[in-house]
Amino acid sequence: MHGERSGVPEGYERRPHVRFMAWCGAVGLAILITGLVLGLALPPPFSVPALPDIPELPDLPNLPSGLPDLPGGPR
């Protein structure tokens, strides 16, 4: 097939716009890297304060007793 394409007349580009598109791909790669660097390095768009002392919430009150066991026995 490539051999056939060598018959494309002089006035017509054989691989039109491929080079330009490759440049676009390079621009895309640059945008990707820039986005990654800025996304990870800039201060976050919002922040929440960390908790110096983490409270352990009290356990929920026990469920009422007398419920039937689940199939397969008590858990």
Partner: protein
Amino acid sequence: MTALLERDTRPRNVLSVALVLSGIFGYGMLLDAAKPALSSPVSWVDVTDLPAPPIFTAVRVCVLVSWAIALGIGVFAMVRLRLAPDPVGRARVVRGSQVAAAVVLLLPFPIFPVDVLIRNWWAAAICVPTSALALCGVHLMQRYRRMPLGLPLAGFGWGALIATGIAGSMNGWFRQYGAAYLVDFRDVLTDQSALDATINRVITAMSLNAGFFEELGKGAGVAVLYLLFRHHIDNLVSGVVLGAAVGLGFNWSESMLYMGAGNGEGAVYQYWGRQTLGLMAAHTAFTAMIGAGFGIARQLSDRRSKLLAIGSGFLVAASAHFANNALMPRAVRVRDNLFGDNPWLTDLVAMPLTIIVLQGPVVVLYILLLRRGLRGQVGGLAVELSREAQTGLGAVTPDEIPALLGPARRFFVKFRAFRQGGVAAYRHIARLHAAQFDLAMQRWHRTRWEVDPRSQDEAALRDIVLRLKIPRLAPDRPAVTEVPA
């Protein structure tokens, strides 16, 4: 007949695309199943592991069912293949089963956008005029030969229903498993810098996820249309148009989603950003780049160059989409800090500036590509129209060429016909121009060794032009024999 059926690889190719899309849903499912347990110093942090929303669960069930049905279709097809008496029958069974399996695999994806559409029908209706206008504008970007309007419309439909469904699914999966992979609650709760780094990490990963999978879903639509209707795609220009149409459909669906959020509280703001300022940017621009890659591939013969063109288009689309999503919240924060007190400045100055900075480069790229594509077309058409005129067969005369190559002049010719013979005359001349472009484009593709086997041959196209040039005898219709320059 058998050879034609066997050579037709379209159903197989479309099935491959459907398998890829269904497969990425499976990939999300796999990541979710394999996610590590949340590491937390306190039990109550486990509330982050929330159950999935009902609609997401519904899609998941439907995808699993679609896999079972597709498998059933495969088994059924194998049985029928054994029973089919002749090669034609077997080819029909294969094609039919491939088409049926592809449809079944794609069917679960519209569930999410249809749910959004039902809940936010008012927003969908509001967005119809702007999106329709933009779609018309995109169609008119084809200044010479235009593909049938049904193709951009189908692209719009894919973007609105299938691509949005894939995006919703993959973003849904990320919400299910993202925190488990990216957040370590042992540090995050007590260490401020670890907390800030985690927020950045989650936003960046979420944006990567959205950029990659949303563009994959939209790009799949361009790929399907390319595979099915390659004979209507001429070059870069057709690709940009198809990509932009898919992007517009996606943008329409996403607009109604965001406009309807919070009982429509931010609807005006979202409409301004998505259906006015960013209508021809954002999704439209990103997917136009994917379309450009396919449009360029249409004129290439070697696989390496095709992959380079399509891959570059996808890379720039996904990267720009990712960077836009990752940096937009920061840009909004800066904007609010600077103009927060003045909504007019925020909406009329700062918001356009944000869009120009984050999406402008891709808009410039697709406009440049479109310009190159149009130049390529006019260069090819100038040569081929002249050669056709030199044949003396009458389909194109030397006098007609300047009007055919100049859109303004062409419009003037049609307008003059309208004044002389009304709408019928206008439409007749428009059909004649379209037929002449079909013929010249076919010649262009033949000269470049890139004729699609499904396109009409030159003799048939020439006949169509010549028939349109036969003077009409009906009294209410003007005689049209030539298109003056």
